[in-house]
Amino acid sequence: MNKLKFAFYWGASCGGCEIAVLDINEKILEVITLADIVFWPVAMDVKYKEVEAMADNSIDVCFFNGAVRTDEQEHMAKLLRKKAKTLVAFGSCACDGCVIGLGNLWDKETIFERAYIETPSTKNPNAVYPKTSITTKEGKLTLPRFYDTVKTLGQTVDVDYFLSGCPPPVPLILQAVEAISKNELPPKGSILMPSKSVCDECPREKKDKKLDKLKRIYELQDDQESCFWDQGVICMGPATRAGCEAQCPKVNMPCTGCDGPSPGVVDQGAAIISALASIATNDEVINQAVDPIGTFYKYSLANSILRRRVIKK
């Protein structure tokens, strides 16, 4: 049997997805018997030029984690799309934009201003900002161009499969690899995750819900048995796709929604907001939801109906 060719790439991401790959532990040996890894910037020194030189469709599967926020990332997304037969959006950033996507509340100018001027730890009296190119005596140096808007991989190129999570749960990665090896992948466009919600995997007991006051997690004396909603705490579980085995609720933290929208949901934040509004017994409850975007759209803003904030100049 011919060995498969795998590639891994990271766009705008935290690196957690790379760790998730390593998290498959000794099974990584099976992956290596199955496939050669032809490109993996985090672990191997393969230059972009070498990828550009590869024949189109010569990579069997490319796992792309991270969102697209710079021209370099966009270039690589397009390049890998050409070179790979199958492109997998790997992790929440690639699928839905994740925390990186919260950058869409701002634009390049406001982000740079904050990062290079305003932050208390920054001293930049001459207001020097990163430039895309600069000529020094050693030669010309370049930096990728920073976009105003974060895009998901799917908004940038055609994606074959999605595997979300921050990072993707190990059993799902293994399951995907197994499906690839057995050539049992589902139809293109599928999400390689269970078709259920986090609640389906959550052992907490669900009751009739009426909310007269919202609590934040630090205010809660968790009984460890009943659904967070029944205890007055927002949990993204119902609108979030299963696959993580409800690992957060199991350790007494409400789900924050990293596995992306659950199967019937288009806009994860809107789904939870309308649920909350429906069971709130008074208007105050809505005001008690601190940091609405960070609560309802932590992982999905860039891929939501909202996508970004309009910055009025």
Binding site: G15, I19, L22, D23, I24, N25, E26, K27, V31, I32, D36, I37, V38, A43, M44, D45, V46, E50, V170, P171, L174, Q175, E178, A179, E184, P186, P187, K188, G189, S190, I191, L192, M193, P194, S195, K196, S197, V198, C199, D200, K206, K207, D208, K209, K210, C227, W229, P238, A239, S262, P263, G264, V265, V266, A271, I272, S274, A275, S278, I279
Partner: protein, 728 residues
């Protein structure tokens, strides 16, 4: 290029690790160690069977009929109504027709003066045939007006009636944009475009049918409940009439004479009470209450609690020996509002129906002290049974009539009038008992303080009514009740001076104004003025009334030896129990709310539940009886039809998507959606008979597992997209 994994990993690892946050570093190294060990959870995970993958599309078409959208290509016909000039004067209908014709699936578009008229409907039918239309759009008035009309036109041509889409060019376009014809035309186009977008996705829907239990439950045995029960029983249906107190009759039984004809209340009421007790179709549950109700139109289940009377109802003949032998005879009689007394073993009034005595457990010597049992010993029929228990009975009915009546406003809530502080201040209902020949004084109208006949009587109107501090509404009967009582006082004591203090005298019924004239001619003085306060003269218990005579524009005082307060009518204190059991709505005044104040006055928004009498709002006996007959007639319709058909535009839960969170259950006010207890995963399930298709659950469901038939997510998204597209 081929790279051996392990070696590469090892050679690059230090560089890689140095990029990481310290916390991640340790995590990373920890996991690297684990690679060489045999790991627990990952190993387990790999042995698991492959989980089901999510297929590519998030939308699923669901159909009531089981078949999906139907394979045929949509062939849409668009009918744009002028509504005479209502629409066509503002909207350029020809332009909208042209616009509509250009859509790919529109095979026919036309405008018509009145699409709802006979020729208009014929036009629809003709073109369904001619153009083999399988979707019809009518752009006209609100669907509330003519949805049924147009659905029938489709049906007549063999098309499923739910393949109709109405868009509202009148209320939502021409009427509101009367002065902007250009914009109105543009908006009309957008509305039509959105209807076309939805029409392409319309699916045939089939209504559900349910059988009906041919019986009715009537709650409350006042004149309203009595009339409704008799009517239903006479139509031929089994009726369960539930009355809380030991006898039916309600407030009407407490009245002496009734305005404006002055017939004796008991004389016209008691024959009806007897009819109830004799009617073969009526089961009378007296001294009983409805504990719970479940189910839906055609199929309600009610639990009735029959309270223990401690007297066996099948043995008691009503002879009254128990009452006459009972040593405790000083219990204030509720029926006489405490003005008279009764024994512990009692009937509320002589003509009580059923004529069965009741032992008042709270005051009975046997129950309180364990002694006595005189009644048990003396009853000739051995009917006394101290071991009797409350009995629960389950009944099944198809429809329910609520006739729980009213409470009299508690005049203590207006302390400025001295009720219960001054002996000679009475309420209008107490007056009824005093003047009644069967009442505590044998019909003698006397002052409670000294038993003397009053020489100067004041009637004070609007007690608790038309008052922002208590009830803002008019109680409707108290003006006429006071005019009647003023007449009765004059009749008893022609020389007595009688005054009525009113804000407005509301004598609006048939023969009422004439009655008022007559009473004025009898010498009753009507004073237009609100009474501010009543004081007592300690010496003789006489009363001073302080009032503002608004015709003279003066504040004045006048002395009386008796004052009657025209207390208003209020919702019953316990009405909420029934309201909760049936999920009924209340109007702001806390009376039960009818489905529509004009067009559906005796229906509620819960199908199969009807209202009559003062439970719905204050009214006099003629109105109560008319309304009771109306409610009976409405309640008999489903019973006669034998089956009920429900709108198919209801909620549907996709069990694959439902995560059992119970949010839908919390928001549905109709109790129509619940965790399915027969399902291991406890997925939500819609009760198709109860669901009214309000859509609350679908909006609330965080897993978006609920689809509204006729308003699917797919249909609405397409409609929205069309609404947001600029028309050309």
């Amino acid at each position: 290029m081929q790279i051996v994994w392990t070696s590469t990993l090892h050679s690059y690892m230090p560089i890689f690790v140095s990029f990481l946050h310290p916390l991640q570093q340790s995590q990373f190294l920890f996991y690297c160690c684990l690679i060489s060990l045999s790991s627990l959870h990952a190993g387990k995970a790999l042995n698991r069977p492959i989980l089901r993958f999510q297929s590519s599309s998030w939308v699923r078409t669901v159909s009531r009929t089981g078949k999906s959208r139907g394979p045929e290509e949509p062939r849409i016909g668009v009918f744009i109504c002028h509504c005479g000039s209502n629409i066509a004067d503002i909207v350029d209908v020809k332009e909208v027709v042209d616009f509509a014709s250009k859509f790919p699936n529109v095979v026919f578009a036309v405008d018509e003066r009145y699409v709802c008229s006979e020729p208009g409907q014929a036009l629809i039918r003709e073109n369904i045939r001619k153009h083999k239309l399988n979707r019809v759009i009518v752009a006209s008035c609100s669907p509330r007006m003519h949805e049924t009309t147009f659905r029938k036109a489709l049906e007549a041509e063999g098309l499923n009636p739910f393949l109709l889409e109405i868009t509202n060019l009148r209320e939502q376009c021409s009427w509101v944009h009367m002065h902007e014809p250009r914009k109105a035309t543009q908006k009309a186009k957008v509305l039509v475009a959105s209807a076309i977008a939805k029409a392409t996705l319309l699916e045939p829907l089939t209504p559900m049918k349910f059988s009906v239990t041919p019986a009715a439950l009537v709650i409350g045995g006042g004149i309203a409940g009595i009339q409704a029960s008799l009517d239903l029983a006479n139509i031929g249906f089994k009726v369960h009439l539930v009355e809380k107190t030991p006898s039916i009759g309600g407030h009407m039984a407490q009245l002496d004479k009734t305005f404006p004809t002055l017939d004796c209340s008991a004389c016209i009421l008691t024959p009806k009470m007897v009819d109830v007790s004799r009617h073969p179709n009526i089961t009378l549950w007296s001294y009983s209450e409805v504990e719970s109700i479940s189910g839906f139109i055609g199929n309600f289940k009610a639990t009735i609690v029959e309270k223990a009377r401690y007297i066996n109802k099948s043995l008691c003949t009503g002879c009254g020996t128990c009452a006459s032998k009972c040593p405790v005879k000083t219990i204030p009689n509720e029926f006489d509002l405490g003005l008279g007394t009764r024994s512990v073993a009692y009937i509320p009034f002589p003509q009580a129906v059923p004529l069965i005595y009741t032992i008042d457990k709270e005051n009975c010597l046997y129950f309180t002290k364990g002694v006595c049992r005189v009644c048990e010993k003396t009853c000739p029929f051995k009917a006394v049974d101290f071991n009797q228990q409350d009995k629960k009975v389950e009944i099944e009915v198809g429809t329910i009539v609520i006739a729980t009546g009213y409470d009299l406003f508690d005049a203590n809530r207006k302390p400025e009038y001295g009720y219960k502080q001054y002996k000679n201040v009475l309420t209008n209902l107490e007056f009824e008992r005093l003047i009644s020949a069967a009442g505590p004084t044998g019909g003698q109208l006397v002052r409670p303080s000294d038993g003397r006949a009053p020489k100067k009587i004041a009637f004070v109107q609007c007690i608790g009514s038309r008052d922002i501090l208590t009830n803002p509404y008019c109680s409707r009967v108290c003006c006429m009740a006071s005019v009647k009582q003023a007449h009765q006082a004059k009749e008893k004591y022609p020389d007595a001076k009688v005054f009525v203090f009113y804000i407005d005298l509301r004598t609006f019924g048939k023969g009422y104004e004439e009655f008022l004239w007559r009473v004025q001619e009898e010498g009753v003085n009507l004073v237009r003025g609100k009474v501010a306060e009543i004081y007592r003269k300690p010496k003789d218990e006489n009363l001073t009334v302080l009032f503002e005579d608004t015709l003279l524009g003066q504040t004045r005082e006048m002395d009386f030896d008796m004052v009657i307060l025209a207390a208003g009518l209020e919702p019953r204190v316990d009405a909420q129990q029934i309201q909760k059991a049936l999920k009924l709505s209340m109007s702001p005044d806390s009376f039960f709310l009818e489905a529509h104040p004009k067009l559906r006055p005796v229906e509620t928004h819960i199908a199969g539940v009807y209202l009559c009498g003062c439970a719905q709002g204050p009214k006099d006996i003629p109105d109560v009886v008319a309304q009771a007959s109306a409610a009976a007639s409405q309640a008999s319709i489903p019973l006669i039809q034998g089956e009920v058909v429900s709108e198919p535009t209801i909620a549907y839960v996709d069990k694959e998507l439902c995560c059992s969170c119970k949010i839908c259950e919390s928001v549905c006010v109709y109790d129509a959606i619940e965790a399915d207890e027969t399902d291991e995963e406890k997925r939500a399930k819609v009760n198709e008979a109860l669901c009214v298709g309000c859509g609350s659950c679908a909006a609330a469901c965080p897993a978006r597992a609920i689809t509204m038939y006729g308003f699917t997510k797919e249909q609405i998204s397409k409609q929205l997209a069309a609404l947001l597209t600029e028309p050309t």
